[in-house]
């Protein structure tokens, strides 16, 4: 490296550093590259945690194991309108602000009990700031869709048959397996 280019590099680095407030940590990058959504790693974690509270892991897989929250984000990123995406982002930010104001922390740092309370409040949907309700219900709707459309659900809970090889037009309800997704 010659002296001139080394000096230029140093100047660029210095300029970068001086533009950053000293005490703010750079937010962790999202694990997935989205086309439209702007999410950082912390927000991704928040959404994953929230999805896992909506459909928890019990003795059987929940949202986490079935990748339902990743599906939800894929759908919101690819299949929702720009307006819906804005609502989602805005609602998410307002929700983060609510948590910060009340608990003085981030959702991720809340205790599991506090997190449960937050989701209960969102699910209740009463007197929420503008777009927070829309944000939550978008996440919930697609998490449910991801879960009920997952390989686990469609092979173990309600079995989807690729090749049913039959059609009964009028059969007693108790003669049909409750685990078949007709």
């Amino acid at each position: 490296m010659n002296r001139r280019s080394a000096l230029r590099t140093l100047m660029v680095v210095t300029a970068g550093v001086t533009l950053l407030p000293s005490c703010v940590q750079r937010p962790r990058k999202a694990a997935v590259a989205y086309k439209h959504l702007q999410l950082n790693g912390e927000e991704e974690d928040l959404l994953a945690t929230m999805a896992a509270i909506i459909i928890p892991t019990t003795t059987t897989p929940g949202a986490k194991e079935t990748g339902a929250h990743r599906f939800a984000l894929t759908m919101i990123d690819d299949c929702c309108s720009a307006k819906d995406q804005e609502q989602f982002q805005d609602g998410l930010h307002k929700f983060q602000a609510m948590v910060k104001e009340k608990d003085g922390s981030t959702f991720g740092k809340c205790t599991p009990a506090q997190q449960q309370q937050w989701v209960a409040m969102l699910n209740d949907g009463k007197s929420l700031p503008h777009n927070v309700d829309a944000f939550y219900h978008m996440l919930k709707r697609y998490t449910i869709e991801g879960f009920t459309g997952s390989q686990y659900f469609l092979t173990k809970v309600r079995v989807y048959e690729l090749v049913p090889s039959r059609f009964h037009g009028c059969i007693a309800v108790n003669k049909v397996s409750p685990s078949i997704d007709n």
Binding site: I53, M75, F167, C170
Partner: protein, 566 residues
């Protein structure tokens, strides 16, 4: 003849490898004619080129939904019910092949070997004389030059080969055919059938005849097709060959004869008119990829490019003899285009049969044949409508909670009440003002003018929608259905995917383009046997009629060739 000309000369050329083009090729090859089958799109080989056919729901990135950006860029195709993640690769995007909408028209296309026969709804109801005699009796369009007796043996011929599942219902305005066994009706369909039979004269609820192998016969086994397994994923292409498409049936059959040359990526520029011979000499083709122009020659040409593209090719086939398009001496080419009115729907629920449900899947529904103005004119609008009738129970899930309670609910879906719905399939009256034409300036990538589409509903259609709602509310009411809701989608023409006409058949060269054998009156060695030939539309799904007309026309063409008349 030069070597290259010889190499490019066939006994017959078929333009378009879809539903009717596949039939033309199959019939010509069966009769020993070396046939060139031209297709503007790519090849789709049965089994090999059905990439999604064995995919499970969770294997689709968006569980079936088409991403918003694709929908926004392609609004027309995105309105098509079958344009979903599992079959979107078989549909033409608006952006790929633009056209000019003088009035809103959703042009649904499938540019590939097999055409739209891959994704069609597989409904196959015959026409009767109450359909063929419509224009003459009611004073619109021109008289059909054929009657039911002309087509009946060809319906049978085609049905046996295709494989049609149906019941013999004995309804004069919906003739019975050659049927394989039907799937069952549901309890509610059966019940509704009884209610309608008891309360109305000449109204029927029947099993909707469809192109499915419910019990394959020897001919179907010979085609390499197997019994329909009720997957109801037909739009992806069927690994069993359980439904009819050109890819599984007519095209491989034609290939087996050794007489077929299938040539994909061949955009037809025009049909060449040989002034010296006084007939068509061949076809000018542009290679879709390299844009190289090649001419092919044959003594007979079948034009099966799909109704509107068939109009386009004829309009673009100009010569000093036919400056306004091949065979267009009367200026009627591209006029009197019509379609089916699918705007109206009605739905409801039924509280009975709670202890019963359905099991498995069925690739068809019930059907209500036309009952309005069949035997005589009885309303303030012309013609009438058929309707689908569907019933089934859907799982209901309470999704209000969250956590373990929600998870439990999702696994314990309960059956909702029987849901019932009907969709209207209305006849539209062909009008001179419903037209397609060539755009004067705008051209596509291959230098071919864009098609201008100028087609709309009229007052007759509006009255028919009103009547459908009134009659079906009455019928649903008599059946005790509740929560009845009516819905007018206001969808543009085209979304019915039953565009027809523009090159209509008729007795008189002054008022029609084609004669009773589907020959151009003014250029006898060109046959048009796709939707473009239709003089009127009636209410039935038209593909079966196109196939029957095609087989009949090939039979005639062959007899004429043997006599040296073509």
């Amino acid at each position: 003849m030069s070597n290259s000309k010889q190499a490019n000369t066939f006994d017959a050329i078929v333009i378009g490898a879809g539903m009717s083009g596949g039939w033309a090729a199959k019939e010509l090859c069966d009769k020993g004619y070396k046939t060139l089958l031209l297709e503007r799109g790519r090849n789709v080989q049965h089994l090999k080129d059905y990439p999604t056919t064995n995919m499970y729901p969770w294997e689709f990135r968006h569980h079936g939904e088409v991403p918003a950006e694709i929908q926004a860029a392609n609004p027309s195709i995105s309105r098509c019910y079958a344009y979903r993640e599992d079959a979107m690769h078989f549909f033409v995007k608006d952006t790929e092949h633009p056209y000019v909408q003088d009035k809103p028209f959703d042009w649904i296309r499938g540019y590939q070997v097999g055409g739209k026969s891959i994704m069609w709804a597989r409904q196959t109801q015959r026409w009767s004389d109450y359909d063929f005699e419509g224009p003459q009796r009611d004073g619109f369009a021109v008289d059909w030059p054929i009657r039911y007796k002309d087509l009946a043996p060809w319906y049978s011929y085609v049905e046996k080969f295709v494989g049609i599942s149906g019941n013999k219902d004995g309804i004069p305005n919906l003739p019975d055919g050659e049927f394989l066994p039907p799937w069952e009706l549901t309890c509610v369909e059966d019940y509704f059938k009884g209610v309608v039979a008891k309360n109305y004269e000449n109204r029927h609820v029947i099993y909707a005849r469809c192109a499915h192998l419910t019990k394959p016969q020897d001919i179907h086994k010979e085609q390499g097709r197997n019994q329909c397994q009720g997957r109801s994923l037909c739009q992806r292409g069927c690994p069993f060959g359980g439904y009819f498409n050109s890819n599984s049936t007519t095209i491989p059959w034609a290939q087996k004869t050794g007489n077929l040359t299938l040539q994909p990526f061949s955009v037809v520029h025009s049909i060449i008119y040989d002034e010296h011979k006084g007939k068509a000499g061949g076809v000018r083709v542009i290679d879709a990829n390299t844009k190289a122009v090649t001419e092919y020659y044959a003594p007979v040409i079948f034009l099966n490019a799909g109704a509107l593209n068939t109009n386009l090719i004829l309009m673009h086939s100009t010569s000093s003899r036919f400056p306004n398009g091949l065979g267009n001496e009367n200026g009627l080419l591209g006029k009197y285009v019509a379609f089916h009115n699918y705007r109206a729907r009605i739905s409801g629920t039924h509280d009975g049969f709670k202890e019963f449900t359905t099991d498995g899947r069925r690739p068809t529904s019930a059907y209500v044949p036309r009952f309005r103005n069949v035997f005589k004119q009885e309303t303030d609008f012309l013609r009438g409508y058929a309707a689908s009738f569907y019933s089934g129970r859907f799982p209901q899930r309470d999704t209000s909670g969250f956590g373990e309670a929600l998870k439990q609910q999702l696994g314990n879906a309960t059956l909702g009440p029987w849901y019932v719905s009907s969709q209207m399939m209305g006849e539209t009256i062909p009008k001179e003002s419903n037209t397609v034409s060539l755009h004067a300036q705008q051209k596509d990538e291959w230098g071919i003018p864009l098609l201008r589409i100028n087609i709309d509903y009229d007052d007759n259609d509006e009255k028919m929608i009103k009547d459908f709602f009134e009659q079906f509310k009455d019928m649903f009411g008599k059946a005790g259905f509740t929560n009845i809701e009516t819905y007018d989608s206001k969808q543009a023409p085209g979304l019915d995917i039953h565009e027809m006409g523009g090159v209509r058949m008729g007795h008189d060269p002054k008022t029609s383009l084609l004669n009773k054998w589907n020959q151009l009156h003014a250029c006898k060695n060109v046959f048009v046997t796709d939707g473009a030939c239709m003089t009127s539309t009636s209410t039935q799904n038209p593909s079966l009629t196109y196939m029957a007309l095609t087989a009949r026309a090939v039979d005639y063409a062959v007899s004429e060739m043997k006599k040296g008349n073509l």
